[in-house]
Symmetry: C2
Subunit: 386 residues, 2 copies
């Protein structure tokens, strides 16, 4: 029997009874369902190396710290890359059952559950995010220093919106900065992008549309293509194509007509590989290709003549570097700017592992979802652990 990965639920008191029978210490039993982390000890295929593990709740926070509970934590492509060991960031370490493990997760919406005696400006119930990257957000309870958390505006946000947009220190900022830091775009200009249905891609479409910038978007062919195309069009996409369209020579002619007043000078790339190479034929002179991902796992391969004769410039964007290079004030300004865009949250599914009766069952369900994610085409997955 196939289990639907997102809708199962187990009655908590049954879980409690089971655990009690299995001889768990009371403190462990009390928190077994609510207190879990997604961890790994060695890099590898996430569907093989990630596991769900219960742990004792942290003790009361130090005077300068707060205890938080993560409510929803996205599984971003870069989180997967961290687990694979191909992303230059060190995941959080913790001791679990006498073993050093890494806890996954870079982003997440957390709620303050206990406040250290000297902490000011934060209270129980506040929604916060971690100001530090690789905070190990795939966990339930955690203790964080108060200076490392950022408080979200009260009472105006849905949980999903907060977790995917307002609390997202990666995707919407990446979209905004790529549209602003490389080419001076004005109303009526054009942007070309692939992976247009990614969280970044959807933010690009929306931010561009609000500024009167037109987008030509590429996505993979898929069973529910019409649905996706409609969805992107509703976000403000000017044109949406599958990569198959690149083999049709009339496309370049059409693009040339559309953009004759303003040849394309910015292309955003999270795919690389041959389709991305083919897309560069649509660019005008003096264009910038800005890469922020490589979902094809293939290199970015470009005819040298594009660089020499069309003055192409290929660069990369990494939001982590942006944060390093900008002040706290600049970061806060960016977040405020993004909040004003009121971006639509991406299509998502909540993977609630708090309802699983055992770590083994939770691990299995997580891995099923990771296999599905590996195949692509899925919605954004938001983890709920506690």
């Amino acid at each position: 029997m196939l289990r639907h990965p997102f809708t199962r639920s187990v009655r908590p008191n049954r879980v409690y009874a089971k655990l009690k029978l299995a001889g768990f210490a009371t403190s462990a039993i009390r928190n077994a369902v609510a207190n879990r982390a997604v961890v790994f000890t060695a890099n590898g295929n996430p569907a093989e190396v990630l596991r769900v593990q219960s742990y004792d709740p942290p003790s009361s926070p130090a005077p300068d710290s707060v205890q938080v509970r993560f409510r929803l934590s996205p599984i971003n492509p870069s989180d997967i890359n961290v687990v694979q060991g191909v992303y230059p960031a060190t995941p959080m370490k913790m001791q679990l059952g006498g073993e050093d493990v890494h806890v996954g997760g870079n982003e997440g919406l957390a709620e303050v559950v206990e406040v250290g005696s000297e902490v000011q400006g934060l209270k129980k119930g506040d929604w916060v995010i971690s100001a530090k990257p690789q905070a190990g957000t795939w966990s339930s309870f955690r203790t964080l220093r108060a200076e490392d958390v950022i408080k979200l505006p009260e009472g105006r946000l849905s949980e999903v919106n907060a977790a995917t947009i307002t609390a997202s220190t990666v995707n919407p900022p990446t979209a905004y900065n790529m549209l602003h830091e490389f080419v001076h775009l004005k109303e009526g200009d054009w942007v070309l992008q692939n992976g247009a249905n990614s969280a970044v891609g959807q933010a690009v479409i929306q931010i561009a549309a609000r500024k009167g910038i037109k987008t030509i978007n590429f996505v993979r062919n898929r069973p529910d293509l019409d649905h996706l195309m409609n969805q992107l069009a509703q976000l403000g996409a000017t044109h949406v194509f599958t990569y198959d369209a690149l083999s049709d020579k009339s496309l370049a002619k059409h693009v040339k007509q559309w953009t004759s007043e303003s040849p394309i000078r910015l292309m955003l790339n999270c795919v690389s590989g041959p389709d991305t190479t083919a897309m560069t034929r649509l660019l005008g002179d003096n264009a910038h290709i800005v890469s922020y991902g490589a979902m094809s796992k293939k290199p970015l391969s470009l005819p040298t003549s594009l660089f020499i004769f069309k003055n192409l410039c290929a660069q990369g964007f990494w939001q982590s570097r942006w944060y390093q290079q900008h002040s706290r004030q600049e970061r806060e300004n960016l977040m405020k700017t993004l909040a004003d865009f009121k971006l639509k949250e991406p299509e998502h599914e909540i993977l609630d592992l708090s309802t699983e009766s055992s770590d083994e069952a939770a691990t299995q369900r997580l891995r099923d979802v990771l296999v599905k994610m590996e195949e692509g085409f899925g919605k954004k997955v938001l983890l709920r652990l506690g």
Copy 2:
């Protein structure tokens, strides 16, 4: 019997006698040896489509023009690309024997042989170059508007030096600008380059050395490798390797040690393909790859992670664009700056086609040399036609 392509000579009066016997018109005979052009009617493999063709000398120049004789005209890689039809420049057109043909050649040292009645500042015997690209320099006599020629300093230059360095509007300027327009380099900094034995590569080595900038140079393996390595070392190369060295993992370690104070931020590329990809492992963060050629005829293929996490920037340089974007004053300043470097002329061979008895024989000799050039490893070829 194998003919050595560069040292044959035929006594001119013997040629004259032969042509007379063959029934050529007197004017054609008088100039048959001295008045030839290397032409093509369709793009293609230079060794197949280029031919040498005699033509009548131009009549006396108009009042605003001068008649010049090209003394030595280099065959540059970009000239080959123009013939192949893969270079975005339109070669000179002329009518020869009632047929429209293209005349090859972008650079060349010319001597003024006749001055139009209203021309000032130029006299018979002056050495000049064309200020306009694609001047059809693979020809002997030509008429040029006085405003389109640039006079070289008198009496200080050898013919070869003038043709390859002082009169070169492409190679030394390309080297100089690539070292100055992308990364601010100071004494002790490092530059990585491939195709280091090209005319540009040799100029890069010399200009960098004069400024205290160190170079790591890559060349192809070849029979006379020691000779080439010594030659580049004498020009000021800090290190010279063949591409084979890239498969030795200790190289990256050595480079890291050498450059630990100043990780490499500039790489100059005229090759592309897998060896060039491998070279990028030697780069530091925030580096620029500047491409000015693609001798491998393969694309420039780079791991997307280099762009994202190491902030690599890949660009191109085209001296023609630089000229378009800079004033006449800036161009002249550049030429003066380059003259002060007193660059050593590249190893060269003079291909003297003026000594060939017939256009057919001259064409055959030219094609033999072009085949040799296609194989690489040859010296710079300088054409002498009249």
